[in-house]
């Protein structure tokens, strides 16, 4: 087994194991920590596929921002240490049943499909390609700008709500 395959299996175990922890642990801070590990594993898979830019952005946004935001929210709202929360309710058996059915369905489809493999090489410098795809001529400029304006509006909205009425 070459190092590429080996890394892939290690990363897969890391992703699946941590993801399982996220949905099964009873302490919400532990869940957040394992969520960070899941994201890092996904970043590793991106890096294996030569999508370095995507890998770095995955770490920067999901690990460095979203997980921190979750931790922040948890710590600001309540005293959580030592409190165990149940992640399941009385519908758990039904949920397991539907999840297993879905898994079987996906497995059958995946096994019966022949996936086309491309002989093309991966893009050497993906950052430049992404940059010109977003901002270059005849590209996704408009969707990109719309997303930016949407985010800006969300930011302004958040500030307005946070300020309240007194000022």
């Amino acid at each position: 087994m070459d190092w590429h395959t080996c890394s892939f299996y290690v990363l897969s175990v890391m992703i699946l194991g941590s993801a399982l922890m996220v949905v099964s642990l009873r302490n919400i801070v532990h869940c957040a920590l394992f969520l960070a590990f899941t994201f890092m594993g996904v970043a590793g898979v991106f890096a294996l596929l030569h999508a370095e830019f995507l890998a770095a952005v995955q770490v920067l946004i999901y690990v460095g921002a979203i997980t921190v935001l979750i931790l922040f929210a948890v710590m600001l709202t309540q005293k959580t240490i030592g409190i165990s929360l149940k992640q399941t309710n009385r519908l758990a058996p039904l949920a397991v049943l539907s999840a297993v059915t879905f898994l079987c369905m996906i497995a059958v489809i995946a096994l019966n499909t022949t996936f086309p493999t491309s002989g093309q090489h991966t893009v050497a410098v993906s950052t430049q390609t992404i940059g010109s795809a977003i901002l270059g001529n005849g590209s996704y400029v408009v969707p990109f700008e719309v997303a930016s304006i949407l985010l800006l509006a969300a930011m302004v909205g958040a500030i307005v709500i946070a300020r309240g009425q007194d000022n």
């Binding site: 190092w3 801070v29 920590l33 960070a36 770095a56 770490v59 920067l60 921190v68 030592g82």
Partner: protein, 352 residues
């Protein structure tokens, strides 16, 4: 002899398959970087104590070894031997993981620091080098917050929260300031950025387009990122005892200290790479190859390290509200302005 050569030698010596040399190279590079990092921290702590002593008209350490040079080593040994306590009410597992989450990112950044010319003096010249640095160093916020939380101590929790707020606020101007050199070099790779500054002193990015602004914004934001004085609020002794690491002792505490000092060297190294021409000599073509490039790199980084220590000795700590106002109302607009001007400079330079 290159690292690959050594790895192939080791592989053949132990009768390992040829494909394993990839792993051996990785392990060797990691070990060298770790050794280098520990050595830098030892030296940095000693120099800091001596320099602070000089500035404050004291002597600094004098007793352990000639001029006290073994003081840091002695302190490190003391930290190793000290009892490792975990508070009864603490969340044990998170308490143990947190220092590692702070230490590992500080260590990972060394992978892309270009110590000299060519591929021998950089562990891996990633084509997203700079983005990698920004991404990896954003992980340590989690470690700091969790350390503060897991200690189950009000002071450490407050310290952790302050730190998180500070770190995520100053990441913005830092990342924006970094964009200047990226636009001028048209690359994210650290070696490419250095190569774009090879024409002597006035081709350094600190003097190109908008002089000094990008450099100052980057340095100040980075100082806030590593909790350096005057932005060391998370560990404000007078208000928070020692901040997020109050409950830590022995080796676990040493990890936080290691990460902090290692980071203060890295930001100087990165600032030197991005704005001061990296390993290039200040005069074009003068002693600008081979091991001389390592000399120039360390000269520039050390000068910045001393500047940081000077600031540490001189400035009083800012207040929380001042910190946030300074970050959001001054640093970010300045950084945005810098991006705008450098972008115009590059666009006009290309057009004309």
């Amino acid at each position: 002899m290159t690292l690959t050569g050594i790895a192939e030698f080791i592989a053949s010596f132990f009768g390992l398959p040829g494909s394993s040399s990839v792993w051996i190279v990785a392990v060797l590079a990691a070990a060298i970087l770790l050794g280098f990092m520990l050595l830098t921290v030892l030296i940095l702590i000693y120099v800091l104590r001596k320099l602070l002593g000089k500035i404050q008209a004291r002597l600094g350490p004098t007793r352990t070894g000639p001029k006290g040079i073994f003081q840091t080593a002695a302190d490190a040994l003391k930290l190793l031997i000290k009892e490792d306590t975990i508070p009864v009410k603490a969340d044990r597992r998170v308490f143990i993981v947190a220092p590692i989450l702070v230490f590992v990112p500080a260590y990972l950044v060394y992978v892309v620091v270009p110590f000299g010319e060519g591929n021998h003096f950089i562990a891996k010249d990633l084509n997203i080098g700079l983005l990698y640095i920004v991404a990896v160093s954003s992980i340590n916020v989690i470690g700091v917050v969790l350390a503060g939380w897991a200690s189950e101590n009000k002071y450490s929790l407050l310290g952790g929260m302050r730190s998180a707020a500070q770190l995520i606020s100053y990441e913005v101007p830092q990342a924006l300031a970094v964009l200047g050199p990226v636009m001028l070099a048209e690359s994210l790779s650290m070696q490419d950025i250095v190569k774009a500054q090879g024409e002597g002193l006035f081709s350094w990015f600190i003097f190109r387009s908008l002089p000094l602004l990008g450099f100052i914004v980057f340095l100040v934001a980075s100082m806030a990122e590593i909790n350096h004085v005057p932005f060391d609020l998370p560990e404000g002794e007078s208000e928070l005892v020692a901040g997020f690491n109050v409950e830590y002792s022995g080796m676990r505490f040493a990890f936080f200290m290691l990460a902090e000092f290692a980071a203060s060297f890295t930001i100087c190294a990165i600032a030197a790479t991005l704005f001061l021409g990296g390993w290039h000599s200040p005069i074009r073509g003068f002693l600008d190859n081979g091991w001389w490039t390592v000399f120039w790199f360390f000269l520039k980084s050390s000068a910045l390290v001393c500047l940081l220590m000077w600031i540490r000795a001189t400035y009083p700590r800012v207040r929380v509200d001042q910190l946030m106002e300074f970050g959001w109302k001054l640093m970010i607009p300045l950084a945005l302005f810098n991006v705008l001007v450098v972008g115009l400079y590059v666009a006009l330079g290309k057009g004309g």
